[in-house]
Amino acid sequence: MSRMAASSSPGRLPEPFLANGSASFSEFLAWQAPELLPGSRTPPLGDASNLARHGTTIVAATYADGVLMAGDRRATMGNIIAQRDIEKVFPADEYSCVGIAGSAGPAIEIVRLFQAELEHYEKIEGTTLSLDGKANRLTTLIRGNLAMAMQGLAVVPLFAGYDLESSQGRIFSYDVTGGRYEEQAFHSVGSGSLFARGSLKKLYRDALTEQECTTALVQALYDAADDDSATGGPDLTRRIFPVVTAVTADGFRRIPDEEIATLVDAVVAARMDRPDGPAAPLT
């Protein structure tokens, strides 16, 4: 923090502040306060995966008005449930959101940096990045975490947003090397993602309404929690439900908990009759 301290003590702003440079906040950090960059630490060798909290399943799907993203509320540390009400889906800016799976600490740090990055660009340039531009910026941030990923502290985000140019919702997935892949219709990441994706395969169809699409995501998270011990199902006694967010032409919006509660109650009631969830037609 030495250079940070210098910037707040009497004296003019240090050179990097006034230098002609890029509109990227992470590049500015690398110059002025590199110790604040998430990827700047090299942890000692060894497996650190059980030392920190892990976030689990994130699902996203596009629908007529844009895109929805939802995440369960569980964080685990080895066999321990470390937190029941963690939030893993965040607004990235007014027209996009990001969900995180993997090591929660570094993931939340990367999300904070990503949010700062997008806002910084917007303020410096006076215009927002394109959706592809945002997705590419996230690539750079994830790539910086590769050394940590090799030691069990991987961060696997799912990015979704509303593309104002093509007027549609879009989803991007990433791997730990920063590889960026655009997904069609729906996708899921995290430990329960295999089950969630299988579930969405049967439930998803084109032109779902927002409510139907939300229901499909809640069903998918239920199926993930059903078969993956690290994914939390809806907590009916504590009334803790998945976080669901929508990004449409009107911007980012978190669906109110009361609406999700009603939906979850209906899903759980139906599962009382058929625990495996709605049956898809055979042909």
Partner: protein, 241 residues
């Protein structure tokens, strides 16, 4: 053989101040006015792309007059400082006072350094609080001095006429349209003529820090349409006396 003349420090500072003032005096003024829900900033600006008024952080805005490249430099430095503070601490820890201090130190050092030419700029750092009493308007001049202004503030070439107009017409707790109309009228009052100039919405750059905005970022630019509407609807209130 040429001999360097002795120039007293007083004279040196005075020359530098004159130089800076001359540069600033060439441009049009910027007005900040407090209203019921926050602060409006209004400038006369022919350009669509080059802004005199901009967002720094959630509750903080920046406005400037003078040499564009110099105040643009300061604006970017402010955004960097605010984003760095907010990222390394918390969003609530970014304050207008901290930013005004950093600017004051920077402008002051540059002004008194013999190796650099003084910046030909004046800037506002404004911050909207939870309630009107917490609103802040800091006015910084080329030599790094800071003034803490209340109700309204004007900077730029012929600020005196605009100030006179505002002193006569400002009332507390105006609505947004009224305060925009008042600020535009104050800008129109400056100039060599005794008659106020005609100002069109397309020549006006305006933005507000509105504490009632639901999102954390309280800064909003007003479109030409919003400014025209304010000029029509927000008949400036009658003289205060």
């Amino acid at each position: 053989m040429t001999m360097p003349f002795y120039v007293s420090p007083e004279q040196q500072m005075k020359d530098r101040a004159d130089y800076a003032r001359k540069g600033i005096g060439r441009g049009r003024s910027v007005v900040a006015v407090q209203y019921a829900d926050g602060i409006v900033l209004v400038a006369e600006n022919q350009s669509r792309a080059l802004h005199k008024i901009s967002e720094i952080y959630d509750r903080i805005a920046f406005a400037a007059v003078g040499r564009y490249n110099e105040f643009e430099n300061l604006r970017i430095a402010g955004v960097r400082l605010a984003d760095l503070r907010g990222y390394s601490y918390d969003r609530r820890d970014v304050t207008g006072r901290g930013l005004a201090n950093a600017y004051a130190q920077t402008l002051g050092t540059i002004f008194s350094s013999a190796a650099e030419k003084p910046y030909e700029v004046e800037i506002f750092v404004t911050e909207v609080g939870e309630v009107a009493e917490e609103d802040q308007i800091y006015r910084l001049t080329y030599d790094g001095s800071v003034a803490d202004e209340h109700r309204f503030a004007v900077m730029g070439g012929s600020a005196d006429q605009a100030v006179a107009h505002l002193e006569q017409h400002y009332i507390d707790a105006m609505n947004r349209d009224q305060s925009v109309a008042l600020a535009v009228a104050a800008l129109a009052a400056e100039g060599d003529d005794t008659e106020p100039r005609e100002l069109d919405a397309s020549n006006i750059e305006a933005a507000v820090l509105d504490r009632t905005r639901s999102r954390p970022r309280k800064f909003t630019r007003l479109s030409d349409a919003a400014v025209s509407q304010a000029l029509e609807a927000g008949e400036p209130p009658a003289a205060g006396e």
